[in-house]
Symmetry: C2
Subunit: 172 residues, 2 copies
């Protein structure tokens, strides 16, 4: 495998964004990534971290994580579903999902309501406040986060990237 | 924003791979992802989880995570560096990195050695066992994990994907 120059440069360029204090030694002798820069898993993780950091910055006024935003979007699109359905669809493990729901409920963004069909089960609904926060979040994500990504990649590349990621998620 | 059919299908197809027991209700009425399937961050995270799961399966005989594999690769390529340099290069937070090093050292895959240049600092080195495990891991990753990804995407698409991810990591 060969060293990908682009990915090596990417790793160097991304370092100043890290929270740790700059290390003078590391700065003066950048490490060789070697074949690591040719591993798709590594490249995916680095890109995903960058995108999540930017997402958090863009919706900072609303204090929403990418996962919380996904839950609110899904609840809005699929009212009356239970937490197993929402958690399974997003691929979130149950203990993590329960903790996240507690947080969202504590902020009055969603509520657990007893199902009228099956009284042993609870369905999830957005509150009015949840709907309002989601609307503001969608606007921030579209005008700041996704717009910048579109500008960086261009619409055609962005679509190609999305299609390849979907192929991996579906078939790999 | 419109619903991406590919991503919706991807989410449905990926569900049976989850650890949770299948939910009959969820199976019969799949949820609508809506605009979530058009969010790059969501697509990246789903693809990255799939790739990490496959990586773990492929190197299961060696019990290495993707992050541990990255550390071993970097130590092999950059002998004599300290833990700050390695952690910063990989973007791993210090507490997580110290815990990971403890694990690798406990399995005799790497060692912390006092630096001859600066006796207050420790450098990291691969042990002979670490080198042997890394060699086996590289073979498993290349012949199973990366080969399957190559077959799925094709070499040209794989290269385009890698380049776009590097652009995001570097410039976003």
């Amino acid at each position: 495998m060969t060293v990908s120059k682009a990915a090596t440069t990417a790793a160097k360029a991304s370092r100043p964004a890290r929270k740790e204090p700059a290390d003078a030694v590391a700065e003066s002798h950048a490490l060789q990534l070697g074949e690591l820069s040719d591993h798709l898993g590594y490249a995916l993780k680095r890109a995903q971290l960058k995108i999540f950091e930017d997402f958090l910055r863009c919706v900072a006024p609303l204090q929403l994580t990418p996962a919380q935003f996904s839950v609110l979007l899904l609840l809005d699109k699929n009212p009356g579903r239970n937490q197993t359905e929402i958690a399974n669809t997003l691929g979130i493990l149950r203990p993590n999902f329960v903790a996240m729901l507690d947080g969202l409920e504590g902020r009055d963004l969603c509520a657990r309501v007893r199902s009228t069909n099956d009284r042993r089960s609870h369905i999830l609904v957005l509150t009015d406040k949840g709907r309002a926060v989601l609307a503001r979040a969608k606007k921030l994500v579209a005008t700041k986060h996704e717009a910048r990504l579109n500008a960086l990649l261009g619409p055609a590349n962005r679509a190609a990237l999305l299609a390849m990621l979907a192929t991996i998620a579906r078939e790999f």
